[in-house]
């Protein structure tokens, strides 16, 4: 087993312009783990993922992927090293077909995983424009796109169930569980704290850009004080 965690974020401070968003934030994700980052709207969850991916680089602190610093790298370099982001709002390319979305992502690397086996719903819609898919199908496409191309060791999932109907949320949850079973390391950002804690091995609670709590997913799920104080769940 590697001595290094797959991901180690060490004391990062991230800004949007002059606005200080993340304060001395640290977290770790071990190999094969699913770690949730939960918190209220505006707490800094998405900014944390953007910092790791190099889209909003931190001004201080270090981000190590498999023990190597990546905080100065461009997003495309970070992707080629094995970190993949499935962003908030999916950000698929709506005017391209499903197949073109998948093939484009695949062209950036060598992974030939047949995502259509994992996501049969996409197989039926290969020639359909991505913008015309339902919300759930678009989310499946966004996850599929994150799995092809350069080999993915760490998947950053940003609000994968946002805006989806309960039945579709269940489908997405099953996909996340299947990915975990396949040994993919996941850092999951979710506003739906209960769902995130059910899926995660461990979780961090973030509040106004600071990590305020860390524990096992089950532990947090059954800690009424944490749920009520930090997440407004009663």
């Amino acid at each position: 087993m590697s001595a290094h965690p797959v991901l180690a974020v060490e004391g990062i401070d991230t800004y949007y312009g002059r606005s200080h968003v993340l304060f001395d934030l640290s977290l770790e994700v071990g190999a094969g783990e699913t770690v949730a980052l939960i918190g209220n709207n505006g707490a800094g969850k998405t900014t944390t993922l953007r910092s790791i991916m190099g889209l909003t680089p931190p001004e201080r602190g270090r981000i190590l992927f498999r023990g190597e610093e990546i905080q100065g790298c461009k997003p495309n370099e970070i992707r080629r090293r094995g970190v993949s982001l499935v962003p908030e709002d999916r950000r698929i390319f709506p005017s391209l077909t499903v197949a073109e979305n998948v093939e484009l992502a695949a062209a950036a690397g060598s992974t030939t995983t047949d995502v259509y086996d994992r996501f049969p719903v996409l197989d039926d819609r290969r020639d359909q424009r991505a913008g015309t898919l339902s919300g759930g199908e678009q989310q499946m496409l966004a996850i599929a796109r994150g799995l092809v191309g350069p080999p993915t060791e760490l998947l950053l999932l940003d609000e994968p169930t946002e805006g989806l109907a309960p039945q579709i949320v269940e489908d997405v949850s099953e996909v996340v569980e299947a990915l975990t079973d396949d040994g993919i390391t996941i850092l999951l950002v979710e506003q739906n704290a209960e769902l995130a804690l059910e899926l995660a091995d461990r979780a961090y609670v973030i509040e106004t850009g600071r990590i305020v709590h860390e524990a096992g997913g089950d532990e947090l799920l059954h800690d009424p004080e944490v749920l009520e104080t930090h997440l407004g769940v009663r």
Partner: protein
């Protein structure tokens, strides 16, 4: 009374001018659609194509050599422009890029005056195309027919390339969301450099092709860049399909105006632009969201 023969001639000449404009505008609209850069130096790249063509032909090279070498040389100039002057400005207000490219246009104009002088220069069409050809009972120069055919094939190839190839898919995705394309593993800054260089090659090619038909002067960039921007406004900013259709429209309008009201040719183009802006502010093919088409 304008005869049928004159109308056919105006149509063919208008189409020939339109397809050459399409070549010029294709690059400009790709650069805007992908990079959000309003490249006011695009006309200068066209002018450099014409001057490089003149030099190569004068130096004893053939027109065909000039047709290949001059656009490539302009492509290298474009590549250097993008890397050293535009790349540091990405993410800033569009005004920075407008000012830089306008400055570059004046730098190129002054450099051209230093190297080639201020007087107009011409280069002859290749001897093999010096004759005439009969189309629908109307006689044209073989060179004009060649330009029409060559530019039509090239523009069609670019169109198919954008719609049907992997590179086209990458460019469509980059136009929609460059940050996401970068996060998928593509170096978007290289995509930008490549697109800008290809855009320069196309502008240079248009310069070489129109060189034998027009006087080559240090100020030729200005009218062309105005015309090119009128076309992309008419077609829809950053919309490739719109740019091609608008180029053909403007080419035909120019052809007919030259026949019927030659003094008002340019006025009519800008009047068309004004009408389109009033009726469809986003351009004929434009959308409020700026879909690259």
């Amino acid at each position: 009374m304008v005869g049928f023969e004159a109308l056919v001639r105006a149509t063919i000449l208008g189409l020939q001018f339109g397809t050459t404009l399409a070549l010029l505008v294709a690059g400009l609209t790709l650069v805007f659609g992908l990079m959000d850069v309003i490249n006011l130096a695009h006309g200068s790249l066209y002018m450099l194509g014409a001057y490089f063509g003149v030099t190569l032909v004068d130096a004893g090279g053939s027109f065909w050599l000039a047709l290949v070498v001059a656009p490539v040389a302009v492509g290298v100039v474009g590549l250097l422009m993008e890397v050293f002057t535009l790349r540091p400005l990405y993410g800033r207000e569009p005004l920075y890029q407008i000012l830089v490219t306008l400055g570059l246009a004046f730098v190129v104009e002054e450099s051209v005056k230093e190297v080639w002088g201020t007087s107009a220069q011409n280069f002859a069409a290749p001897a093999v195309l010096a004759g005439s050809i009969d189309i629908a009972g109307v006689t044209y120069s073989q060179y004009q027919a060649f330009v029409l055919l060559f530019t039509t094939v090239l523009v069609a190839a670019i169109w198919v390339g954008l719609e049907r190839t992997n590179v086209g898919v990458l460019l469509q995705a980059t136009a929609h969301d460059p940050e996401m394309v970068d996060a998928l593993g593509f170096d978007v800054s290289r995509v930008f450099t490549g697109v800008f260089a290809v855009s320069a090659v196309l502008a240079g090619l248009a310069g070489v092709l129109l060189g034998p038909a027009r006087a080559v002067t240090p100020s030729m960039w200005f009218n062309v860049v105005l015309l090119a921007f009128a076309i992309i406004v008419i077609g829809g900013l950053g919309n490739f399909r719109g740019a091609i259709v608008a180029s053909l429209l403007v080419g035909l309008l120019t052809g007919y105006a030259a026949l019927l009201v030659p003094s008002y040719t340019e006025l009519l183009v800008f009047a068309l632009m004004a009408v389109v802006l009033l009726v469809r502010p986003a351009g004929i093919f434009g959308t409020a969201t700026g879909d690259p088409g």
